[in-house]
Every structure is written in structure tokens, then in C-alpha cells.
Symmetry: C2
């Protein structure tokens, strides 16, 4: 095991406060959105960022001075630009509010701790002065997890983990690595690649989201079939809480009581701040192959995915678009190797050593062909891999022309998949009316079930925020009625909180409250997030 | 999904109160123990069971009558024989105490609920009358998890789940099954086999331990490499607590907050009583092949296991004995296909469809050969599979002739394996003195680490109980000093409790206390077990 030097952190590209991602990467409405353009009804007015008035920082000067003593004056920021960039996340409601000039959830101050001890000191300060603390990683949350309650508190601090970007150590024998929470996906992979290993976690938010956020929200990436969900990649955690430090993970697995790691994975900053994550790593893959397969129907493709998973043959990536999503993607037929012939498109991706990749590819391909799939070559696979992180930029372009676009996701057991699919689709169409497009794909697969990821597009009403909130509520009601989970990989935040008790029961909520009360008796950590 | 009828439960074979397992299966000291016999120094006196005086039931008649009203008089048992059979578990200290005529931990009464609602009603009764409740499954616990504290309580009830033996339902599409907690390993597998599926969980205690116990203790079986630890097989739980019911598991995986299933897996009856477990099942394997491999040293074999795991090639069973354990097993050279040539024996087992078994066997065998292993054919594999549940019977025979025998286990990351192995071995040899035999094997394997399972044999001193407790304390101290887990698959019970805070910290213990206080405010559930 080698302890690695602290790298110099280059200034990171910040996301636009009203849009997704790097402003330099924003594009005009691309070709692939052609199928949606008919929904557009004009250009929506968005005030320029500089015109958005921010509420003044609500913390008294004496309190700010005491905070400066804790972490150093240069790491305590109250300027409008910094506070704007740490306001809410990137759900469509977040963007709609920001586009409407509402940045009322802006923190009073942004503080940037550099170490675990800094974090602990800020928490102690927050408890002493009854200030709410919102841990901030990539700011890519889509469930309102950064919009903590501030009433009853002296103010609200955004605890920005941007300075904590170390690859602390790599254990090449155990194939584990210790990462700090502020590392964005590509930063972590670059540092790990320097050691010849990879994490393999590629959620849609990969380019901006952070290691701490992946852990705190139980993120799942596009290669989850091969590398595993983020929670399954975590073997150890270090957590700073108002009551002290926790270090968890003395072995890969243990029977020394409940697995407390699983209590902090998904704790969304409400129980403590994750300051180090020990993850499994794998050797860098030498080969990557992504291939397309066509299926007559979503049901036929889903059955094939189930069969592959239950045969123990999961590739690295396995995803399937329903008929509607396939048709939209088919707007670029040259990339999927042929004319639009309907049906559903599946992507199967294989990463690893050449021999292992080829053996798995042969076995999976044989099974898929037996089950009725038609190979569509590497074109669709490459197209998917190329554009895999682009969808949120497309959403901005659609919002620009007055189309409401948002996504939501759930998961269930195989025997409930079709029922859940129909119920959520109907709920969204019912709430948003004629002409609504509901697209769906399966992208996270287990032996016992799968996730369903929906993309919704509709003409914006006069009040698009209310329009979406009603649709989302209808979808959530349908999900809990079907006995599925309200979120497979986007966490609870504040948006899913009203539905949580349907899933874990009032007693489950009571347990979460008891844990929070024990670790955060003053209740300063992300108040109102996760715990109802 | 099919809801299955409630089967008639045949009376189960009860274990001897002073020995392991079915008295009819007990044998004379077998050939395979020849290597240990030199330690023996005579015959230890054991009082006959009928001579052991049990303390009278401490519960007043009025209380017993009210309990009879709750579950029916025929399910409330106070006779000595029943109480004797529900006293403590099967660790060597448990057996030594029982052999010495000490059954002072006997419950006042054994109650046998038939349903979840019965369990809930007994818990309500226990809270009302401040009676301690010890959930009882197979009684195979080896960490003192059945020896709850009774001081401060009106009495102690053994909550015997022997009537809850239903396979509730099988979902053939999702490949899940709902099992009641009182099903013993073979009973569960027989019912599942009737539906064409299998669970695949084979701990040493398989023949007597129960589904509820597997879940409550995070058990791990001999085929964990292929089918997974028991906790990884669980997708849903139903739990009765003094504050009501919990139903957990709305999807294979979820991001709706912390995974609360993982809080009840390993909760050892201290947070609630598990009344239903939903598990992953697999198709019954058509083929089983177990093969032996020889390695020059434990280190060489362990490196090979690590390489196989990190290559993603784990077979169904993968285990490796160290030099000392291999030498003892070699007492039957005819079964391992040759003369004793030293080194270490590995067993690799493959189960599944013939094509998949052969493909995996070829790939693993190629890798093992490259890494320096020598194939030893199917002899050693078959011998292992044949005798895999016999070791606890052997312990009784050894105790009969005055040899102290016990096992303990731990787990760590690969880079700490050798250090942990040496430290535990030294601690045991140091505590037990010259002539002590310490055998070890690796039997649970992960990409990032493995378990170490030690068997210890020594001449009994005049006070074998004190002798073992000192050795166990030395081993536990060595384990926590090495940063490993105090138990990979035997739970905390009361025996490991003093070491728990080293592993999860005082704050981790505080979280467990908070959860217990929330779910069991009166503290009647397994008092003193798990939570310090």
C-alpha cells in the first residue's frame, strides 16, 4: 500500500447556475432531438445570471469572523457568484426556478474545508452557533437534496468539498483505493489510471458529480452490471459527525453486527459528512466493445436481459430502450446502422482483458440470438458510448424552446416490471396530457429485477414548475402503489421525502430519525433532507 | 408468483443439550482425527443429562397463564427437557458448561409462536410484563448469542420459532422465495427443491441452523464464492418489533436512503424478530464437481485465490487449508489421492449447468496451473464434500478424551492476510502453550480480501473453560490490533461484545444503542446480546 502525495488541485470548471454542465460544451438543439422538436412552441425568456438578485448573506459578521478562524479567511466565501454556484442542484424544477430568477435557496456562506479535521471543526462551529450545514460535492443532485430547511437556524452554510480531492492511497494487493469526497468522476479516474486501476462508476452526472456524492446518494452508473453500483464498490468510509468520527470497514464483509457502512451510504449528509471513501478498484480494461441488439418489443428485450442476468452472464453494460426511446434515438439512423425498423434497441458493452471480453461476448451473444435478438453491430454501441453524458445539455436546449423535459427512475422485481412500467407511463401521460412523450429504458440489472428510467417531454404550460410537480407526484403515487422503490439511484432529497414512509414504513422513518438524533442532536446537518 | 400451502411440520430432531447435532449421528473418534489423538490424555467425566438440575422456572403462574392466553397453552412449555434443549448454543464454552452440569442460563419458559402476529403478541406481552425474550432458531450459535442477561427482568422467555417453517411463496420470474424463520437449512432446501430452485447456503451448521438465524447473524456458507453470503442473498425482510412491524425490500437495490435491510441483517434478535425472509434463489444445479489442488505453501495458495477472485473467475466453492490443517486431513491419504507430500490443499467446487460448469472449470484450472498449483483430482474434493458437516461431531469426541477443541474466524483485506494469520496463530499458541495445534483455512473469498478460519486443539487444563476464554481473548486482541473484523460470519453475541467498540468505534456502538432504544424502548429483546 502506498500513501500518495497531495496533488495540486487545478481550478475546476463550474456549472452554469441555470443550466447543466460546462457552458463551453452547451450546443444548439442537436439532430437527435429532431423527434421532440414538434413539441416546441417558442422561446422561453430566461433572465441573465447577472440580473438575478441574491438575498443578502444572513449571517452576522461576528459569526462569519469566527468561521474564518476555523478554516482560514480565504476559504470562507460570501460573494454572489460563489453563492449562486452553490444554490440547489440540477433537477428541472431547480433549473426552472433559477431560470425564473429565484435563487432564494442560496447559502449565506460557502466554506471550503481542506481536511477531515476542518470538516469536524466546521460542524462543531455550526452546532455552537446553530447554523444549518449543507454538504456540497458536484451540485448535480436532482431530488432537492441541496435545498435544506433554514427556518429556526441562524443561517445556512454550504460545506463545499472542492478542496478535498486527494487520492489518499492505493492498495494494489487488495485492489482498493482511498479517495477524498470532493473528487469529481473524471478526476478520480485520472488519478486512479495513474496507478493502473479504475473505479468504473459512470452515472449520467459523471463529469461533475463527486465521490462523496456518489456514496451519500447510493449512485449507480452506466456500467453497474459489470463494475457494480457505487454502494457495492465501497468497502470503507470515514465520516465526520457532530458527535465525532466514524471509521467503518474492517474487512470486505463482516458479521460483527449490522453493516453500518450501509447506514451512511444513502445518508445524504443528514447523518454526517463523508470525508474518505475506500473503494474496490479494478485493473484498467484493455478492451472495450459496445454492441447493439434489436428486439421486437420492450417486453421481449426485458425478458432477454432477465435471462442473461439469471444465467450469471452479465456484461459490463446492459441497457434496453423501449419502443418510444428507440424511435427518438433513431432520428440518427446512420448511427445505428440502418433504417428505422421499429422495435427496441439494446446496448451490450464488454470491458476487460481481451480474452475475457471475447469469451463473455460470445456467450452473451449466443444467448441473445437464441432468445430472438438481432445483432445491430457496433454502430449503435459506439453512438451510445459517445453521447452517454450529453442528455442533460439537451434538456437545457429543450427548455430554451419551451419544452418541459425531466427524468425519473425506479426499480422493482422482474415479476412487477411490466405493471410498474405501464403504471408510471399512464400516470405521467394522465398528468401531462395529450402529446406527452414518455420514453423509458432499463439500465441497471440484477438477477431479481431491474431499474426503469423514464424521460418525459411535454409542452410547457404557463406554470411549468407546477406542471412538473403534479406529474412527478402522480408518478411517485403510481410507484409506491406498485410496491416499487421511489428511487433506484437518485436518493430521497426533499423531493422524494413525502413518499419515503410508504417504502420503509413509519417505523423505518422512526429508525432514521433515531440515528440522526444520535449523531446530530442539534439537527444542523442538511435539515429537512432525507429524514421527514 | 404462487402462494404455497402451509405444510405439516414433522417433529424435528433435537440436538443433545451437551453435544452437537443428532445423537444418532455421533461417532467414535474417527480416523481423520488420528493426528490429534496424541493430545488426548484420558476420559473427561460428563454428568448424564438427566442428572443436571435445572433452576426452577422463575415466572409466576399468573404470568404464565397470561402467556398461554396469547399463543395457546400447548405452545407454552416449562418442562425441564424442553428448557434444557433451549439453553445456550454450541460453542465449546457452552458445551463445557453443559458438560459441567451448569444449565443456569436455561429459559423460564419456551414459547412457540406460529405466525408473525403470534410473535408480535408475545413481544407485547413481554413489554407489558418486563420479560426478556431470546429468539431461538437452530440453537447453533457459537458466540453466546442465546445467553441473554436476565437481571432486572421478571423472567426470560425462549421464543422458539420451530412452528414457523413455511415456504410462503416462490416468484419464479424474479427468482425469489419467501421463507419463514424456523426452517432449518435442509428443510428450506427440500421445500425449494420441490419448486425446482435452491438457496445454496451451506454453513457448517447447515443441518440444524435456521433461515432466521442465518439472517440475524450474517451467516456465510461453504459455497459463498458462488451463491453469496446469506446477507447478499436477502432481498426482503419482515420484522416484528415491540413498536410494530417493518417490511423492507421494495426492489433489488434502492437509493431511498440507507439500506435498512442491512441494519436487521446481523441484528441478532436485539432489534426485532425476523418473521419472513425473502431470498434470491437459483435453478437447481445439474452438475457438481469438486476438485483438489496442491500448493507449496499457504501463501502461494492464498495468492492464487486472490488472483482467481480478482480475475472475476470465482467458482462455487473455493477454500484452502494451511500446512497444519492439510497435514491433519492427510491422515486419510487414500482419500486425497496419494501420499502425504506436505504443502497445502485447496478445494475448488463448481455447480450449475454442465456447459457453464465446464467453461468455468477450464478457465479456473488453467489459471491455477499457471500460478503453480498441482491438480489433485476429484478425490480430495469428494472427501471434503462428504464430510463437510461432520467437524462439530468430531469436537465432541475430542472433548470426550480431554482435548480442548474450538474454532474462531475473522476476515481482512488481502494485504493484511499474512500479518493477521501470524498474529492470531501466535496469540493462540502463546495462550495455550507448547503442543497446541492451530489449523487454519480460507473459505470465504472476495476481490478485496478473505476470511481466516482457525481450529485450535490443546490439552485440557484443570479448568478448560478459563483456559479457552483466555486464549479467545488473546486471539480477539490480536484481531483488533491487526484492524481485522472480530467475526466474519459468527456474529457478536455476548462473547465478542467487549471487542465490538474497537471495530465500529464508540460512536458506532452509540448508533446501535439508538436504534435499539427506538425499536425496543423497554429493552426486552435479547438483553446484553450484540449491543454493549
Amino acid at each position: 500500500m502506498s500513501e500518495l502525495p497531495r496533488p495540486t488541485v487545478t481550478a475546476q470548471v463550474e456549472m452554469h447556475p441555470q443550466r447543466w454542465g460546462d457552458p463551453a460544451s452547451a450546443t444548439e438543439l442537436p439532430e437527435s432531438a429532431r423527434g421532440l422538436v414538434e413539441l416546441a412552441f417558442g422561446h422561453a425568456e430566461t433572465p441573465a445570471v447577472a440580473d438575478v438578485v441574491l438575498p443578502p448573506p444572513g449571517l452576522p459578521t461576528a459569526l462569519l469572523d469566527s468561521l474564518r478562524e476555523v478554516v482560514g479567511g480565504e476559504h470562507v466565501l460570501t460573494d454572489d457568484e460563489t453563492r449562486r454556484l452553490r444554490t440547489r442542484g440540477k433537477s428541472t424544477p431547480d433549473l426552472l426556478r433559477a431560470r425564473a430568477g429565484d435563487l432564494s435557496d442560496a447559502p449565506d456562506v460557502v466554506v471550503r474545508p481542506g481536511t477531515h479535521d476542518d470538516v469536524a471543526a466546521v460542524l462543531a462551529w455550526a452546532v455552537d452557533h446553530h447554523v444549518a450545514v449543507v454538504p456540497f460535492g458536484g451540485g448535480t443532485c436532482v431530488t432537492g437534496g441541496l435545498a435544506a430547511r433554514r427556518d429556526g437556524f441562524a443561517g445556512l452554510v454550504s460545506l463545499d468539498l472542492v478542496r478535498m480531492k486527494r487520492l489518499v492511497s492505493v492498495d494494489h494487493e487488495s485492489m482498493t483505493a482511498v479517495l477524498e469526497p470532493g473528487l469529481r468522476g473524471p478526476e478520480a479516474e485520472t488519478l486512479l489510471a495513474g496507478e493502473g486501476v479504475l473505479l468504473g462508476h459512470y452515472p449520467q452526472s459523471f463529469e461533475f458529480a463527486t465521490i462523496g456524492g456518489f456514496a451519500a446518494t447510493r449512485s449507480s452508473g452506466q456500467s453497474s452490471a459489470g463494475y457494480g453500483r457505487f454502494d457495492s464498490l465501497v468497502v470503507g468510509l470515514r465520516v465526520a459527525t457532530p458527535r465525532g468520527e466514524l471509521r467503518l470497514g474492517s474487512a470486505p464483509m463482516s458479521a460483527a453486527g449490522p453493516d453500518l457502512r450501509q447506514l451512511f451510504l444513502g445518508s445524504e449528509g443528514a447523518f454526517g459528512v463523508i470525508t474518505e471513501v475506500t473503494v474496490r478498484v479494478r485493473r484498467l480494461p484493455e478492451t472495450k466493445v459496445y454492441e447493439g441488439w434489436r428486439w421486437e418489443s420492450f417486453a421481449a428485450g426485458a425478458d432477454a436481459i432477465r435471462t442473461v442476468a439469471q444465467a450469471g452472464l452479465l456484461p459490463t453494460v446492459l441497457r434496453l430502450s423501449d419502443e418510444a426511446e428507440t424511435a427518438i434515438n433513431l432520428a440518427r439512423p446512420e448511427e445505428i446502422g440502418g433504417e428505422s425498423s421499429g422495435g427496441c434497441l439494446m446496448i451490450a458493452g464488454y470491458e476487460g482483458a481481451p480474452g475475457a471480453v471475447e469469451a463473455k461476448r460470445v456467450a452473451v451473444s449466443r444467448l441473445l440470438a437464441e432468445l430472438g435478438g438481432t445483432p445491430a453491430g457496433e454502430g449503435p454501441g459506439e453512438a451510445w458510448a459517445h453521447g452517454r453524458f450529453d442528455a442533460p445539455y439537451l434538456r437545457d436546449s429543450m427548455l430554451d424552446v419551451g419544452v418541459l423535459v425531466e427524468t425519473l427512475e425506479t426499480a422493482t422485481f422482474w415479476s412487477s416490471r411490466e405493471r410498474l412500467y405501464t403504471a408510471v407511463k399512464s400516470a405521467l401521460e394522465g398528468a401531462l396530457g395529450v402529446g406527452t412523450l414518455v420514453l423509458c429504458h432499463i439500465s441497471h440489472v440484477y438477477e431479481t429485477g431491474c431499474s426503469l428510467y423514464f424521460t418525459v417531454a411535454a409542452k410547457q404550460s404557463g406554470d411549468p414548475l407546477a406542471q412538473w410537480l403534479a406529474a412527478k407526484a402522480a408518478a411517485n403515487d403510481a410507484i409506491v402503489a406498485a410496491g416499487a422503490t421511489i428511487t433506484h439511484h437518485h436518493a430521497v432529497g426533499t423531493d422524494h421525502r413525502p413518499w419515503l414512509h410508504h417504502e420503509i414504513g413509519d417505523l423505518g422513518v422512526s429508525v432514521l430519525r433515531a440515528v440522526k438524533a444520535d449523531l446530530d442532536p442539534a439537527g444542523v446537518l442538511n435539515p429537512g433532507v432525507l429524514v421527514p
